[in-house]
């Protein structure tokens, strides 16, 4: 079943005006006619380098950014033009986990208040109920009641990321958009975070849109993967296939850029470029 669908989505930002009185003209499209679907229970990888339009696409899917043209479908209904109030109910079904959770926290809020915010927004008025759901959620990301009164600055990077995940799942959404969720973490923490997300997906029946530039995790983490370049999707394949069977030269270049796992694998690979 299709949970979320992009139909021919295009986003064009105005180019910088030339001079103080110059008229701004439309620039090159940040996202250029992309069609994509996220099915229930799957992890879809959206891969590309910075500036390729992957975050803009994600923002349009969440309706945080109006598309220049094209439609966004949620469970088959066209939500592209839905007004704020109507959108609100849908919003609680899709949540975001950011690259650096710490940067998305109010530094003076305690963990409890950070995780409580989506609940307040969704109209959970009873403080007791909020606390119960917060505790439950913190536990499911491996943090106990001891963390309720901590401030973000008192947490390690790995714990901050867990709080960011807790905030995203406290409303029990269907869809999580993970925007480079591992890149601010040390490598030993990356694996933990990845296992945590895989477990939660199973446990809560989530579907993931996983945005990354790191192809080395795609094979293990993604059911399907779409490679984006300059606003277009150049290749789409099952995640496990991508490593071995990628056919687009741009995907091959990205794959070749992954550092070796063992010094014996280093060759002239670094000399290959893609223009």
């Amino acid at each position: 079943m299709k949970l979320l669908e992009a139909v021919d989505l295009t986003k064009v930002y105005a180019d910088r005006a030339s001079g103080p009185f110059g008229r701004s003209r439309p620039g090159p499209p940040a996202v250029d006619g992309v069609s994509l679907e996220l099915r229930r229970g799957e992890t879809l990888g959206l891969i590309g380098e910075s500036g390729c339009g992957k975050s803009t696409l994600a923002r349009m899917l969440l309706r945080l950014e109006p598309p220049t043209s094209g439609r966004v479908l949620y469970r088959g209904s066209d939500i592209t033009d839905w007004k704020f109030g109507r959108m609100r109910r849908v919003r609680s079904r899709m949540q975001l986990v950011f690259q650096s959770s710490a940067a998305s926290f109010n530094p003076s809020f305690t963990v409890e208040r950070i995780v409580a915010e989506p609940l307040r927004n969704a109209g959970v008025k009873s403080a007791a109920e909020r606390r119960l759901r917060i505790l439950e959620t913190l536990e499911s990301v491996g943090l106990g009641a001891a963390y309720l009164d901590r401030l973000p600055a008192e947490l390690s990077g790995g714990q901050q990321q867990r709080v960011g995940i807790a905030r995203a799942i406290v409303l029990r959404p269907e869809i999580l958009i993970l925007d480079e969720p591992f890149s601010s973490l040390d490598f030993s923490l990356r694996r933990q975070a990845m296992e945590l997300l895989a477990g939660l997906k199973e446990q809560l029946g989530l579907s993931y849109l996983f945005i990354t530039h790191d192809l080395s995790i795609v094979g293990r983490f993604c059911d399907r993967a779409a490679v984006m370049r300059r606003g277009r999707i150049v290749e789409q394949r099952p995640g496990a296939e991508l490593m071995n069977e990628a056919s687009h030269p741009y995907t091959r270049m990205l794959l070749d850029s992954i550092p070796a796992r063992h010094p014996a694998d280093r060759t002239y690979r670094l000399d290959r470029t893609y223009k």
Partner: protein, 264 residues
């Protein structure tokens, strides 16, 4: 400057660096020893907080009080910097050893064109005219395959991509003839494609210019790709040291094994 490959550029012995005083003192670097040779890349690997950056800053003489290098020897080209006047240590910085950082955009001065920054650095260490310095700067950029000459010199950091900035930082670091380069997480903030460019550039300066590199990183992929030898650091200490193949094939320390296993 050929024929000096393998010469020991940097030798650190029993270096200890402490931050804070009294009860709150923290030993960030706890008696480490390491060496870097010309034309070779030594990787210092560890997680955040392991003390690897503090070790690098200690070598550069850039630890701010109340932090201080408490004990140990830092030999640069055979001279113990800690036993020399501070003036001499300062003079070595840029001339004999240089450092690049994780975030190249912030390392460049945002309000000066990059050419001014290159020329200023050259003239600080060499007695040359402005025109000569400009020619040296352009030649240095050409060597790093940064073409565009004068036009590139007039650009500001914000007009360039992150990868471009980092390559300019490498050029800037080596423009005064420094043979020891300390690279602190040089590719961490960059995309994979750009990371490959920077790794290639570090490999080039090591091969063509016999620069010795102390590569500080938490990314074992970067180590596998580039390093000749590896120092694994944890809680201020070096827990394992060896040739890169030995460390990957036969890690001796439990922690190194954990690091290798934790890769995705």
């Amino acid at each position: 400057m050929k024929g000096e490959r393998g010469r020991e550029l940097l030798s650190v012995r029993d270096l200890t660096t402490v931050f804070g005083r009294g009860d709150s003192a923290v030993v960030a670097v706890d008696g480490i020893s390491l060496s870097v040779r010309a034309g070779r890349i030594a990787a210092l690997v560890g997680e955040s907080g392991s003390g690897k950056s503090a070790a690098a800053l200690s070598v550069m003489g850039l630890i701010d009080p109340p932090g201080r290098v408490e004990a140990g020897e830092i030999f640069l080209n055979g001279r113990d910097l800690r036993r020399r006047p501070l003036r001499e240590w300062n003079a070595c910085r840029g001339r004999d050893m240089a450092m690049i950082f994780q975030d190249p955009m912030n390392a460049l001065n945002p309000v000066l064109p990059i050419g001014r920054q290159l020329i200023e650095t050259i003239r600080r260490h060499r007695r040359v005219s402005g025109a000569e310095a400009r020619a040296i700067a352009i030649a240095q950029l050409e060597r790093a395959e940064l073409h565009g000459g004068d036009r590139l010199l007039r650009k500001y950091a914000f007009e360039l991509s992150g990868g471009m900035c980092q390559r300019i930082m490498i050029a800037l670091a080596l423009v005064s003839g420094a043979k020891l380069l300390i690279a602190d997480e040089p590719t961490t903030a960059l995309d994979v494609g750009v990371q490959a460019q920077i790794l290639r550039e570090l490999d080039r300066v090591r091969r063509e210019e016999d620069v010795g590199i102390l590569l500080i990183t938490h990314d074992l992929g970067v180590v596998a790709e580039l390093a000749d030898e590896v120092y694994v650091m944890r809680s201020g200490r070096i827990v394992e040291h060896g040739e890169v193949f030995d460390v990957f094939d036969r890690p001796r320390h439990e922690y190194t094994r954990e690091l290798l296993d934790s890769r995705l």
